[in-house]
């Protein structure tokens, strides 16, 4: 398995691949991933030019640990195959498929990625895939999509197109996205892949943004797509384990290990009942703290 499949992805920042001013130094804001967009952000008559810009940016710019994901054009356009060739040749870390509606969509893209890896001397399996779900049909097939490929590291909700398909609109409350969010995060967890939330487009409403991020964090999402560096710190703050949670998780792991050796299954930590069911969650908190660079312990 590609070791980056489960890496930390709290923030994925969208950047228009056609705009040199945007793609030259986004790493200074320290998003976990950048999403270099060849799709909706790029005008129809600039699709060709955006690829050259993308290729040389990938080849030349040191993004200092930010994962470089490329959003290709849809499978219903004439652009997506060359998008994949360009992105894979340039050295991208992952491809994002827009408007994914079936496992077959992922398999079709995977076949082109495999070919591009061969053509451009990339190690087989080095390019990961993620699928954006933007329709009611895609949401209903989320589990199939999540299980479609060993390369697929996660799925992402694209709220704008999804709400159009659902014949509603983005309200800022999240009510219109509830069903899709719940269905997708459950599907992703069932398949063991990650799940990412849609963008929040009102940059003047940072309180609304914070509430939105807190909601999706509680729902179980791994991270959020973002459109502006101002949004990064809020997402990272909410998705990074707090010290009190880390300390409690450490106690849980140590106590379960100790008590298990003593043949004790249920006990209390800081007044809370703990059994083996808490073990994985506590380990996950510590792993997330490590990945976020805030863990100082020795577990």
């Amino acid at each position: 398995m590609n070791p980056n499949k489960k890496r930390l992805r709290r923030t994925m920042m969208f950047l228009n691949a056609q705009k040199p001013g945007l793609i030259k130094d986004p790493y200074i804001y320290k998003p976990d991933s950048i999403m270099l967009d060849l799709e909706d952000a790029v005008a129809e008559n600039q699709k060709d030019a955006a690829r050259f810009s993308l290729y040389h940016a990938l080849k030349t710019i040191n993004y200092r640990g930010c994962e470089r994901v490329v959003r290709i054009n849809g499978l219903d356009t004439p652009y997506w195959k060359e998008d994949i060739r360009c992105a894979v040749a340039g050295g991208c870390d992952a491809i994002r498929i827009p408007k994914t509606e079936s496992a077959q969509d992922v398999k079709v893209v995977e076949a082109e990625v495999i070919q591009a890896e061969k053509d451009f001397g990339r190690e087989e399996g080095s390019v990961l895939i993620m699928a954006a779900i933007e329709s009611a049909r895609g949401v209903m097939r989320a589990l199939d999509i999540c299980e479609s490929s060993e390369r697929l590291f996660g799925i992402a909700l694209s709220g704008g197109d999804y709400t159009k398909d659902l014949q509603t609109h983005i309200t800022g409350t999240g009510i219109e996205l509830m069903g899709a969010r719940q269905n997708m995060v459950i599907a992703a967890r069932a398949a063991g892949v990650q799940c990412f939330d849609t963008v929040y487009t009102d940059l003047d409403d940072m309180d609304g943004f914070r509430q939105d991020v807190e909601n999706i964090h509680l729902m179980g999402f791994d991270g959020k797509s973002i459109i502006n560096p101002r949004q990064i710190n809020i997402v990272h703050e909410i998705f990074t384990p707090k010290q009190k949670d880390i300390i409690f998780a450490e106690k849980v792991v140590r106590e379960i290990d100790t008590k298990k050796a003593q043949g004790i299954g249920v006990f209390t930590v800081d007044g809370k009942m703990i059994d083996i069911a808490f073990y994985d969650g506590a380990k996950r908190t510590i792993e997330l703290a490590k990945a976020s660079g805030v863990y100082k312990g020795d577990l």
């Binding site: 040199p20 030019a49 810009s53 040389h56 080849k59 060359e82 451009f120």
Partner: protein, 99 residues
Amino acid sequence: MEIKKPAIAGTLESSDCQVTVEAGEGKVDFSLESAVINQYGNQIRKVAYETLDNLGIDNVKLTIVDKGALDCTIKARIEAAVYRSIGQIEDLPWGGAIR
């Protein structure tokens, strides 16, 4: 490779450059406009000639209006203009002539 028709790529936004290619008169005719021409003119010219050389082009009128573009952007815009001029948008030689 021969320039077939005039083509343009890039913008006049900050950190970008606008590149125009036209059929030449038997040589490379290079023209540069840049606010930093005194500091970076030679470097931009070097990148432009290297890019044309990689593409196998020695007969072109190349005009660059620079707005503070990095080398990688200058390359990208020249290549975009050249491939527009010959009308090729697929099966591009990534890692070959484009490098």
